[in-house]
Symmetry: C2
Subunit: 184 residues, 2 copies
DNA sequence: GGACTCATGTAAGCTGTTACATGATTTC
DNA sequence: GAAATCATGTAACAGCTTACATGAGTCC
C-alpha cells in the first residue's frame, strides 16, 4: 500500500484536500504510516487522471482556493480490491534501537539523554493516542489501531523505566566472555 | 543511518562477508531494521573505496571464495562519529494497521484471517527474540534491544487476544453517530 | 510583529527493493 | 533427488523525502 492507495483510502472516509490528507497522516495514521506533500499531491493528480477521484475547486474568501477531492464509485471499488489483496506486513525502522544496539560505543551521558528523549516522545505519542481514543465516531477498526498504539507505547515505556538503572550502571562494562567463547 | 553505516557497524562487531552481514540483518537486527543484498554489496564496495573497511579473499575449499571485510581504524572512528550524531527516530510502517483502520470495508472472514496471521507472526518473532536473549556474549545494549522487541510483541499479542472477540462480534456495524455529529 | 495555520505544487536526488544471473556444497 | 545454505553481484525501477517556491489569514 503506497501513498497513492492511502490517499484513496483517506478520501473513502471523507472528502478533502491534499492538506487535509496530510493532516490525517500526521494524526490518525501517524502511528503506523507517514507521507509528505511531495508524495500526496502527485498521487492526487494521478488518481484523478485515472478517474478514481473527482476534484472540485472551492473558492476561498478567507483562505486560499481549495481543491476538494472526493472518491468516485470506481475509486471506492478499486480501494476495496486493493485492501483485500494487501498482506499484513509490518516493518519497524528504529534508529533508537540501532543506537542501543551499539550502546557500548556511546558515552554514558549521551545514552542517558537518548533514553530521556525517547521516553518523552513515547509519552507524547501515548497521550495523543489516548486523547483521540474515545471519540464516538470511530469505527471498531479505527479504535483497534489507536488501542494498539497505546498498548505498544505503554509496554515500551514500562520497559525503558524498568531497564534504565541497570543499563546506565553497567554501561561500558565489557560483556562477560570466556576466552574462545563464540558469540551466538 | 543508512545501510552503508549499518554495514560499518556490523563489521565493528566482527569481521565478515556480505552474506554474514545479511544474516545479521535477518537475525539480530531484524526487529528494527532490514536490508537486502542489493544494498549491502554496493555499500561494502563503497566503504572499501573510502578506506573505512579492508577486504581479504579467503579461498574456499568446500565453499565459494569469500570476501571477508574488516573495519579499519578510520572506519571505527567514522562509525562512532555517525552514532553520536544520530537522532533516535523511529518509524513504523504497518500494512496490518492500515487494514485494521479500514476493517469496516473487509469481509469478516478476511478480518479473522488477518488477526490469525499477525498473531502467529508476532508469536514467532517473540520466540526467536526469546531464544537469543540469554546469550552471555551480548552487551547490555544488545540485550536491551532484544528485550524491547519481546516487550512489544507480548503487549501486542495480549492486545489482539483481548480485542479479538469484540472486534469480530461488532464487525460491520456502523459506528454509532448522531445526525450532524462531526467526526473528531 | 512573529508564529502558526491554511493551501498547492515541483524537481532533484537519495535510498532501497526486486528480479535477474550463477553455481557449489550440504543436509534430509 | 530436492531443498536449503553458502556466496557475489548488477540493473532497472519504485517510492519517497527534502528543499524550494509562494502567499494569505489568524492568533497572541
Amino acid at each position: 500500500m503506497n501513498v497513492k492507495a492511502l490517499c484513496l483510502g483517506a478520501l473513502c472516509l471523507k472528502d478533502g484536500t491534499g492538506y487535509d490528507i496530510k493532516k490525517l497522516f500526521k494524526e490518525a495514521f501517524s502511528y503506523f504510516h507517514s507521507a509528505s506533500y511531495g508524495s500526496i499531491y502527485p498521487a492526487l493528480t494521478q488518481l484523478e487522471q485515472e478517474g478514481l477521484i473527482a476534484m472540485r475547486v472551492e473558492a476561498g474568501e478567507r483562505h486560499p482556493d481549495r481543491k476538494v477531492y472526493s472518491v468516485t464509485a470506481a475509486g471506492r471499488e478499486a480501494f476495496v480490491e486493493e485492501l483485500v489483496a494487501t498482506e499484513p506486513t509490518e516493518r519497524l525502522r528504529s534508529e533508537f534501537l540501532v543506537l542501543m544496539f551499539f550502546a557500548h560505543l556511546l558515552p554514558n551521558a549521551r545514552l542517558a539523554a537518548l533514553l530521556d528523549q525517547v521516553e518523552s516522545e513515547y509519552r507524547l505519542t501515548r497521550e495523543v493516542l489516548e486523547s483521540i481514543y474515545d471519540c464516538p465516531t470511530h469505527t471498531a477498526g479505527v479504535r483497534f489501531t489507536i488501542g494498539m498504539g497505546i498498548a505498544a507505547m505503554r509496554a515500551q515505556l514500562d520497559y525503558i523505566a524498568a531497564q534504565r538503572e541497570s543499563l546506565l550502571a553497567h554501561h561500558a562494562e565489557p560483556p562477560a566472555r570466556m576466552p574462545g567463547e563464540e558469540p551466538c
